[in-house]
Point group: C2
């Protein structure tokens, strides 16, 4: 069995959200699994020295058009959040807490968190909102709340974020297929060919 | 007759070069013309406050993989230039000098310049190399040399570069279809649908 495809993303990233709708379908087409690996782009921006996208003139105005247009192009429901971007520490911790016990369920939580932020304008950077979204899929609110504040979960999250930046992730989605990195929802065509041919 | 599609690019940009192989074919499929508009990304970087890509950690290492891989993916011959990136003032001036007289021939010159830089490792930032490439397609070397140093051509080039940044161009390729901007060779799928449907 080949290793899973690594899907690095930030819960604050619209393009990561679009990718979350498509990556497992693409992988399954080639008989592959996907390991979801949320991280915090902010940690990568410290290495690249870049400001967040909404602070970059020209690029920011372009993104304001490209993001909703890309949602329509990919057929993914999208509502631009009022508070954007956010620091996604709480949802990332909740994810890794659950992922250690049940990766499949953690993926379900990630989908619910993304949908809450990008279709319902729920600010998941607020830990209580992350707890409420987790409760929707049947997780116990007090357990999730405790997990977000648990030092071991904080350490695990920090370690996963550091690992992501260490392997070179700087954007979202950042997808690694058998050692080959692909940045962006717009590299899915290349990923598809890479999976079909084993490299080109 | 609809207005032409505006194709903004930098002669130093690999992705602009890839796009130069595909944009007229895509436009023709929809019965459209393309106006080629070289500019200098450096002028946009002054507005965005960004360093050039090869100076950005993580992103730079990624680009070193993505660029040759994208060339293979798009079936475009590519050899990474020894001197990269370059300030493409000389080829941009030569282009606008010729474009004022004969846009079709200017496109031919642009293709020759791109091929020289990205397949033969000819440093077209050196005016004499731009002159030599122009001579290959039958232009008089002394006329091209004079044009590159002509104040009116310098002013025209500067005006075109300023205009590109003023409409929002910050990358290469940056393509505007009936007022809608698309950044990157990886937005050709969206451009295709936009041209087919008149917007989505």
């Amino acid at each position: 069995v080949p290793a899973p495809i690594d899907f690095y993303f930030d819960f604050a990233s619209p393009y990561g959200y679009f990718a979350s709708h498509k990556i497992d379908v693409l992988a399954a087409k080639h008989g592959r699994e996907v390991a979801w690996r949320p991280y915090l782009i902010g940690a990568a921006l410290k290495v690249t020295g870049q400001p967040p996208l909404p602070q970059i003139p020209l690029k920011r105005e372009y993104a304001n058009r490209d993001t909703p247009r890309s949602a329509r192009f990919h057929g993914v429901p999208y509502r631009h959040p009022t508070n954007f971007p956010i620091g996604a520490v709480a949802p990332t911790r909740a994810f890794y807490w659950l992922n250690a016990k049940d990766p499949k369920r953690a993926k379900e939580l990630a989908r619910a968190l993304y949908a809450a932020y990008f279709t319902e304008d729920i600010d998941i950077s607020n830990p209580e909102n992350t707890v409420a979204v987790a409760a929707r899929i049947g997780l116990a609110a007090d357990e999730v709340r405790a997990a977000i504040n648990d030092q071991a979960v904080k350490d695990l999250t920090r370690a996963e974020v550091d690992k992501a930046v260490a392997i070179g992730a700087f954007g979202s989605p950042y997808i690694v297929v058998d050692g080959e990195p692909f940045w962006g929802i717009d590299r899915f065509d290349q990923i598809d060919r890479w999976l079909a041919t084993g490299g080109f």
